[in-house]
């Protein structure tokens, strides 16, 4: 099984975010981490490789710091990495990111392409599905299980409110992976050492320029959301706060 995992580097979950001067984006001086759903996608690819043999390739598009995500993936067991590293890739919408990926992998023959179900920064949940349409491949989203069978794969799709659905699909296919599909592994020291020697191919904008166009949508402004709720902050020592809370529970919420 030759599997491509599309990964993204996003600001850390608890990173304090500040708007940049033009309020068009955030200030970049925060800590970054791998997009959590993508980590699950990688883990799933590694498990499929362990079961069926093959190769796991990881790809990302972003500035130089995004390479960290690829290095960690290689350390965990991915075989090769592709980095679309060029300032021109930053700020591309899902449509163009998918087009850039498709152009970068045009000479490869993957059986499966995984993405996380969505990114924790933009949260659009689109890149994987857009890529499927561009490649003309079948796809399924929010996947919690993948089994190989004679005609291709059987996947378990997560629906709302605790419902699920199995879907049979031919290969090649694209799947967007849900968090919690598996338990994430840690990179071993040996893995980290081996990662240094694994191929990491850099792709400049010039190589895929023909495939990429202008964004189809534009973030006009970014801002701190306006609060609609009147939140009352309760302060004091733990004991004082506990008493204040009980006071609210009794007199305002009326559950005591």
């Amino acid at each position: 099984m030759k599997i491509l995992v599309c990964m993204k580097q996003v600001p850390q979950k608890d990173a304090p975010l500040k708007l940049n001067e033009s309020a068009a984006w955030i200030r970049e001086d925060v800590s970054y981490e791998v997009n959590e759903p993508d980590a699950y996608a990688l883990e799933e690819a590694l498990r499929q490789k362990e079961k069926h043999g093959g190769e796991v390739v990881v790809i990302t598009s972003g500035p130089p710091r995004a390479q960290q995500v690829l290095r960690e993936a290689l350390a965990k067991g991915a075989d090769r990495a592709i980095h679309l590293e060029d300032n021109g890739f930053v700020g591309l919408d899902a449509f163009n990111t998918a087009r850039a990926f498709a152009a970068a992998i045009k000479d490869e023959t993957f059986d499966l392409i995984f993405t996380g179900l969505q990114s924790d920064d933009y949260g659009y949940a689109q890149t994987g599905v857009v890529l499927a349409e561009l490649l003309g491949w079948p796809h399924a989203t929010i996947i919690m299980q993948i089994e190989k069978n004679d005609s291709g794969i059987r996947v378990k799709r997560e629906l709302e409110a605790g419902y699920f659905q199995f879907v049979d699909m031919p290969l090649p296919a694209i799947l967007t992976i849900q968090s919690g599909i598996n338990k994430l592994r840690y990179a071993t020291l040996i893995g980290i050492k081996q990662a240094k020697n694994k191929p990491l191919r850099k792709v400049a904008m010039a190589e895929v320029q023909h495939a990429v166009g202008g964004n189809l949508q534009k973030i006009e402004r970014l801002y701190v959301p306006q609060k609609t709720k009147n939140t009352e902050f309760l302060e004091g020592s733990a004991g004082e706060v506990a008493k204040k809370l009980v006071d609210k529970l009794r007199n305002e919420v009326r559950v005591l």
């Binding site: 079948p138 699909m169 402004r221 919420v253």
Partner: protein, 331 residues
């Protein structure tokens, strides 16, 4: 191209998805704002009755987009059907609820038409004749106003709860219903979906709980859940959790609150160590009173909390349990 707003209503397993009424409310508001006509479409096989149900609302026309190949749902069939419909009827703005099904096909449909979707929006603005759609970024820490930089049709999906379904206006008389038959060629549909099912039995129905004590990653370890359990018991409530807690197996899946789990609206929702990621918030933002305890003052949960405590839940919950017990015995 006619200046029309099209609301795509969702039906699944023989039922109209009620979140579609929220999208209709949004469509009515946008129609009033822009002066454009409002129409709706239901996609499936034998969906005439759903179309009639929608036609009772204040709307110009409802379409039943039909093909036997549209049942069961597949992204290939839905994308092909809506593409045919949209190319024929040419609406300017296409609105859908941000359901798991819509997420599964709308990016494909938009891409097939050389267009884009602004997804999971919580509202809209009209500025200088341009429509801007507001959506949350960075798990709710920031908001963005997004515009289209391409021609119509424009695709927008709205977050659950962004609009009120019960505010969808009824029409003075039933709108006309028209069947639009689509042709889906052999070989278009590649996925073979099986029956939808619920995993394991549900031991607890959180939608019936008046009081819910919910834990997030801030609970740190499985053994600490005992503390939250004691608080829930003291209050006479149910224990619940955000997704990561259930993914780790610390609580069973039927305790999960959020887009993949239960949606609840209890009298009291007490969030312990929950940051307030969007996927969780959509499952509990309708709660009558929300109390949040989190040591991160920037946690998005504080945007929707009625009462907030910025502090360490391990310091606060033990005395809270004692005070609750005291209050209960003192009658």
């Amino acid at each position: 191209m006619s200046d029309t707003i099209l609301v795509v209503v969702e039906q699944r397993e023989g039922k109209l998805n009620r979140v579609s009424w929220e999208t209709l409310t949004a469509g009515q508001a946008l129609a009033a704002e822009t002066g454009w006509a409002l129409e709706a479409a239901v996609i499936g096989s034998g969906v005439g009755n759903f179309a009639s149900e929608v036609a009772a609302k204040k709307i110009s026309k409802v379409y039943a987009v039909e093909s036997p190949k549209l049942e069961p749902y597949t992204p290939d069939a839905f994308s092909a059907a809506l593409k045919q419909f949209i190319e024929t009827k040419q609406p300017k703005l296409v609105l859908m609820p941000h359901t798991y099904q819509v997420r599964d096909f709308v990016p494909k449909l938009a891409t097939a038409m050389g267009r884009t979707a602004i997804s999971d929006c919580i509202g809209y603005k009209k500025e200088g004749g341009k429509l801007l759609f507001t959506r949350q970024m960075f798990q709710g820490k920031l908001a963005a106003d997004v515009s289209f930089a391409c021609d119509a049709p424009w695709f927008v999906t709205f977050q659950n709860g962004a609009f009120r379904g019960d505010k969808a206006e009824a029409g003075a008389s039933a709108a006309p219903v028209e069947t639009f038959n689509v042709q889906i060629a052999d070989g278009v549909i590649r996925n073979k979906p099986q029956e939808v099912f619920k995993e394991a039995k549900q031991a607890v129905d959180l939608t019936q709980a008046e009081i819910i004590v919910s834990v997030g990653r801030g609970i740190k370890e499985q053994k600490n859940i005992e503390l939250a359990k004691q608080l829930a018991e003291a209050l006479g409530g149910e224990l619940a959790a955000s997704r990561p807690i259930c993914d780790s197996g610390w609580l069973p899946m039927d305790r999960q609150i959020g887009s993949s789990g239960q949606t609840v609206a209890p009298k009291l929702y007490l969030a312990l160590g929950i940051s307030g990621a969007i996927q969780h918030i959509v499952g509990m933002k309708g709660s009558r009173t929300i109390i949040a305890i989190n040591k991160d003052s920037e946690a998005p949960i504080f945007e929707i909390a009625d009462y907030a405590v910025v502090g360490n839940l391990f310091d606060i919950v033990p005395p809270l349990i004692e005070e609750v017990k005291k209050a209960k015995t003192s009658g």
